[in-house]
Structures are given as structure tokens and as C-alpha cells.
């Protein structure tokens, strides 16, 4: 028979083994609530949103620009909190996520859902007050896409989950642009496309070395369903798509030579990392003999790539 948390706590307190009980019953810390917002994901979202804001013609009042970026950050965090609420069952199974506040028992699922919904509501409302209806609608759409399409619709059903779901993470530069101009131009659409095609090699590199976790939780990530060998090929295929798409802003004269040269060099380096992933030493079943060292390197590089290519766009505009 399972003991109630209170009983576990009492036993633990008596036996002097109250570590688990402490973390569950003493309540969440502020850091736990912040962890619900997935702050590491938020950094990339904020950065790409700022780039969209800076590249947009016309400029924006600094207070309103700050409010717009804050809303993008809070909305991303809110979507992350709702995602953690919905995925609490599989998070508890996966080693990588088992210590998150909900599966660890420090935050009640209902509390996390309320937190996420409230922050979603306020972020969209403040975005509308500070900028315009289009930016607010796009922000609401990105939250809805991440929660309903990716988290609830795709993640547990198809290995293409992160391909289609990647659109949710591609919204921030478009929202940043729309916050300034009130419309959506060709350049933010291209920035959307860059993040969209960047997402598969980024997440599939991660899933190559975390596939045991996904398999245990029953999440049909590509390595679980199609095997590691096909996933490595898919990483290369999407990286080869990404390079020409990343060059489009230069080809279409929406960015200058600084961006063009940067995109080419960064893209070729990405292809080299993807090549190493594809050529990783593996056994007959495709299991890596190097503990997926190339996939780990490609995952780290993919994050650097996105920072640098968006940074190059801003630099190109400044020089």
C-alpha cells in the first residue's frame, strides 16, 4: 500500500530521512516557479525576438520595445509551463526531466497550469496595449501552436513532431518585427524559415543522445521510431536545406555581404558537424560507438549557430 505524502514526511522526520519529504511538503521555492518558465529556452526566444525588433524599419519607443520583448519572453515561459503541466507524466519517467518541479512534487499540476494560463493572458494583453493587435495575435498564435499543436497534438503521435512543432519557436522574430511595423514583411518570414529548418537538426542531435529517455517515456522521436542511422541522415538532410535558406536574405538583397559571408561560413560549419554525426562510428544497428560525441557537438554548435547568424544580421545592418 502506498503511503500518503504526509505519512512519508512523518516517517522521514522520525527516521531523520526527510530529504524527499522536505522537497515535497515544504513547498516550492521562487526558483521552482522560474524553472517552470524554461529560462534556458527563453534566452534564444528573447534573442531572436530582439533581432526581429531591431531589423524592422521605423524603430520603436524603447519602453514599448522593452515591453514587447518582455511579453515574448513571458509568453514563451507561459507556454513552457503549460507544456510541463501536460507532460508531467512523461517528464517523471525521463531522467533529463524527472527533477522538474511538477514531477518532483514541489509544484502542484493545477498550480502550474493556472500560472501558465495567467501569464499567457497577461503577456498577450500587455503586448496589445504596448504595440498592436497583429503582434498580440501572433503571440497568442505562437502560444496556442506550442500548446495545442505541438504539445497536445504532435509530440506523442508522430516522429515529425519537432519538424512541424518547430514553427512555434520560429515566431519570435516575426512578432518582434510586427510589434514595430504592424505588419509582416519578407525578411521576418525568412527568419521564421531559418529557425524552422534549424529546429530538426538541433532537436534530432539532442534526441540521438537522449533517445533512451524518449523511448522509456514512449515519445516517438525519430531515433526511437526510425532508428539512429536514419536520424543521422535526417540531420544532414535538414542542415543541407538550412544553408541555402539562410542565404536567401542576402540573395534577395534584404541583407548585405557581412551577413552573406557569415551565413555561408556558419552554414558550412554546420554541414561539417552534420557530416560528423552522419559518419559517427556505429554498430550494425546504428548505435553509436562514441557515446554520440558528434551529435553532442552538433547540438552545442546548433545553439551557437543560431546566436551567430542572427547576430550577423544585426551586425550587417549596423555596418
Amino acid at each position: 500500500m502506498r503511503s500518503s505524502p504526509a505519512a512519508i514526511f512523518r516517517q522521514g522526520a522520525v527516521a531523520g530521512e526527510s530529504v524527499l519529504a522536505d522537497s515535497v511538503l515544504l513547498g516550492a521555492t521562487t526558483a521552482d516557479w522560474i524553472a517552470l518558465l524554461k529560462p534556458r529556452v527563453m534566452v534564444l526566444v528573447v534573442f531572436t525576438g530582439i533581432v526581429g525588433l531591431l531589423l524592422a524599419p521605423g524603430g520603436i519607443n524603447p519602453v514599448l520595445g522593452f515591453a514587447a520583448i518582455l511579453c515574448i519572453a513571458v509568453a514563451a515561459g507561459a507556454a513552457g509551463a503549460i507544456n510541463m503541466w501536460y507532460d508531467r507524466d512523461i517528464d517523471a519517467i525521463m531522467r533529463r526531466t524527472a527533477k522538474r518541479p511538477i514531477p518532483a512534487g514541489r509544484i502542484a499540476p493545477g498550480g502550474a497550469l493556472s500560472f501558465g494560463v495567467a501569464l499567457s493572458f497577461f503577456s498577450v494583453l500587455v503586448m496589445w496595449l504596448a504595440t498592436n493587435l497583429l503582434a498580440a495575435a501572433l503571440l497568442a498564435g505562437s502560444i496556442g501552436f506550442y500548446v495545442f499543436v505541438y504539445t497536445m497534438g504532435l509530440k506523442r503521435r508522430t516522429p515529425q513532431n519537432i519538424v512541424i512543432g518547430g514553427a512555434a519557436g520560429a515566431f519570435p522574430p516575426v512578432i518582434g518585427w510586427a510589434a514595430v511595423t504592424g505588419h509582416v514583411g519578407l525578411l521576418p518570414v525568412l527568419l521564421f524559415a531559418i529557425i524552422f529548418f534549424w529546429t530538426p537538426p538541433h532537436f534530432w542531435s539532442l534526441s540521438l543522445f537522449a533517445s533512451a529517455d524518449y523511448e522509456r517515456a514512449g515519445v516517438p522521436m525519430l531515433p526511437v521510431v526510425a532508428g539512429a542511422r536514419k536520424t543521422r541522415l535526417a540531420v544532414m538532410r535538414y542542415t543541407l536545406w538550412l544553408v541555402p535558406i539562410s542565404l536567401l536574405p542576402f540573395v534577395l538583397h534584404l541583407a548585405g555581404p557581412v551577413y552573406g559571408a557569415s551565413a555561408m561560413m556558419l552554414g558550412l560549419a554546420f554541414v561539417w558537424y552534420a557530416w560528423r554525426v552522419m559518419r559517427d562510428a556505429q554498430d550494425a544497428t546504428g548505435v553509436s560507438l562514441t557515446r554520440d560525441a558528434p551529435a553532442r557537438a552538433a547540438f552545442k554548435y546548433s545553439i551557437l549557430y543560431l546566436f551567430l547568424i542572427f547576430g550577423a544580421l544585426v551586425l550587417d545592418r549596423l555596418v
Binding site: 514526511f9 522526520a13 522536505d22 515544504l26 513547498g27 521555492t29 521562487t30 516557479w33 519602453v63 514599448l64
Partner: protein, 55 residues
């Protein structure tokens, strides 16, 4: 309504930790609410200045 401090058989250290965490959450919530008020106030001022309806 139950009060965890009264109802639970906690050691003084555990009570102190519970109170510390609760105080931390309360201060964080206060900070977030004050920040939201200031943000909306600043947005309102900027919007009014831009539209010429202030002073």
C-alpha cells in the same frame, strides 16, 4: 482551512524552512505585481505622449 505549521509534526528547522520559502514566494509575487503596474503605467504614459493627449 489547515495550517501546515500547526498540523504537521515539523521540527523547528523544517518550520523555519517552510516559512522562509513562503516568504520568498510572497515577495516574488509582490515584485511581479509591482513590476506589472509600473510597466502598464509606463506604456500608458508613452502612448499618451505619442498621441498628444497628455498636458
Amino acid at each position: 482551512m489547515t495550517d501546515p505549521i500547526v498540523d504537521m509534526h515539523w521540527t523547528p528547522e523544517q518550520k523555519a524552512e517552510f516559512v522562509r520559502r513562503r516568504r520568498g514566494r510572497n515577495w516574488a509575487l509582490l515584485g511581479a505585481l509591482v513590476a506589472l503596474c509600473l510597466l502598464i503605467y509606463a506604456i500608458a504614459v508613452v502612448k499618451l505622449l505619442h498621441s498628444g493627449h497628455m498636458w
